[in-house]
Amino acid sequence: MADEKGPVEIVQTPVELDYTYTAGQAATRFLKGVEQGKFLGQRCPVDGLVYVASRGSSPKHGVPTGPDTVEVSDKGTLISFSIVRIPSANLSVEPPFAAISVLLDGADSHLMHVLDECPLEEVRMGMRVEAVWLPKDQWTASMQNVTHFRPTGEPDAPFDSYKDHL
């Protein structure tokens, strides 16, 4: 029975667990490329699709990608987007901002990233975008080398050029 102070409504049980991740072979190949300012894709040996960034397998066929890598462009086509207006402690970017899916030229899978240097009302599918890198002396084996994507100013890619990757 609750006393005059009422029932216990909250029990705080702080949990902190530390993990040391292993990037794995495929992610290591990708991150080594990023360390040098390059996006390295890896091919599925079954259908030839180029995954950027590969987590080790072709998710459609369950076979390893690589070990050979295929350099893809750091330019690509915006194939989806959402304007994020809700703040979160996990976000390093101030809302509102555009979260985007980018199909890099030469890749068959998309990267998620943030679009900047562009008015939100102009963001659209088909827009041509490019990666903006940190200064070279700050490059590490991390995706944080790319701060954001921005429009290239090229004409939009026609829908047919990316419709098979939606």
Partner: protein, 351 residues
């Protein structure tokens, strides 16, 4: 009941820490190996089921990433248990019994090396009274071992002998992590780790994966020369709290064995999942295993214990003894939860 057989089994080597590969990269060759062994191509399994734990992976929905090792396109019928892969096998077996599938691919995997395993295991406890105290898995097992020793349910010599047997048997298991010739007296003389447990009484921390293929009916013979037919399959649960169940015996193991129709006197091989040496003894006692049964020819969990795969590996090692003709009857056991809380028994035979 439908006749269902284990027709293929594969496992990765168990290692203390695989620093080169992520979970998917560990799992992929194992899945490829059972597919190849069974002759069932990708996309032709009626059902896929896996066992893994997000707490071990340190990320949410880690099992979804695990599916990348299988290739879920075209889309597949799939399920997952946040338990050892042995329970995934049970789910697949039930699915087949119900007539929803004739074949299944089952796997379990983990990288226990990523976090502090004994602490991570505290997350499986009661979140109000127990987890805030962070009782680690080894300490929990030590409480059980103390009761076993003080009541005489298990002797220190029996515990040491279980380790001697495990290490010796593991010499012929290339996937084991700990193997070799060790001496009972030397083991007993070693300092305790978490009293009364010595380090050797505890299973090692392992990264690894295992996979298995089930096929129903006579068709199983097309996929395996000598299938391991499942003659009984049961899992039984006890309360989680250590204070409300006897720890010096494993009633749920005894009941699971009874329901699985195990005749201990006729058992050629038993693969028991005892992550601590005293638990291996409790399991033998619960099932009533005698001297005519070869216990843990693989070395058991004391030789390698990749969580979420180690139980499935016990079932696979038992099935492998049937596949190779060295056993006519075999039992595979898996455990889950603190201090043998939940136990699964799979009885199989070659015919």
């Amino acid at each position: 009941m439908r006749d269902v057989a284990i027709v293929a089994f594969a496992q990765s080597p168990s290692v203390r820490s695989d620093t080169q590969r992520n979970e998917v990269e560990i799992l992929m060759p194992v899945v490829a190996e059972v597919r190849e062994a069974s002759g069932i191509p990708k996309g032709e399994f009626d059902f896929i089921c896996s066992g893994s734990s997000d707490y071990l992976a340190g990320q949410s929905f880690a099992f979804v990433a695990g599916l990348d090792a299988v290739g879920a396109w075209p889309p597949v019928s799939e399920s997952h248990v946040e338990m050892d892969g042995a329970w995934a096998l049970y789910e697949a077996w039930v699915k087949i019994q119900m007539g929803y599938a004739d074949s299944a691919l089952v796997y379990g995997f983990s990288k226990c090396s990523l976090g502090d395993l004994p602490e991570v295991m505290a997350m499986q406890l009661d979140p109000y009274y127990q987890t805030p105290l962070w009782p680690d898995a080894v300490s929990m097992a030590a409480l059980q071992a103390r009761q076993c020793l003080e009541t005489g349910a298990v002797t220190a010599e029996q515990m040491a002998d279980a380790v001697v047997r495990s290490r010796a048997n593991a010499k012929s298991n290339p996937n084991a992590q700990l193997s070799g010739d060790v001496d009972r007296e030397k083991l007993l003389a070693e300092p305790t780790f978490v009293s009364p447990l010595h380090k050797h009484d505890c299973s090692p921390i392992s990264d690894g994966a295992a996979a298995m293929v089930l096929v129903a009916g006579e068709k199983a013979r097309q996929h395996c020369e000598r299938p391991a037919w499942i003659t009984g399959f049961a899992h039984i649960m006890e309360p989680m709290d250590l204070g409300v169940r006897p720890l010096t015996e494993s009633r749920s193991t005894a009941e699971a064995a009874r329901r699985a129709g195990v005749d201990a006197a006729k058992l050629d091989v038993a693969e028991l999942h005892g992550p601590f040496s005293h638990q291996e003894i409790l399991l033998e006692q619960a099932i009533g295993i005698g001297s005519s049964t070869d216990v843990n020819p693989s070395g058991g969990a004391l030789a390698a214990n990749p969580m979420m795969a180690a139980g499935l590996i016990r079932l696979g090692e038992a099935a492998a003894r049937i596949h190779d003709g060295s056993a006519a009857t075999a039992l595979g056991h898996a455990t889950s939860g603190p201090c043998l809380q939940q136990n699964l028994v799979c009885a199989m035979e070659g015919r």
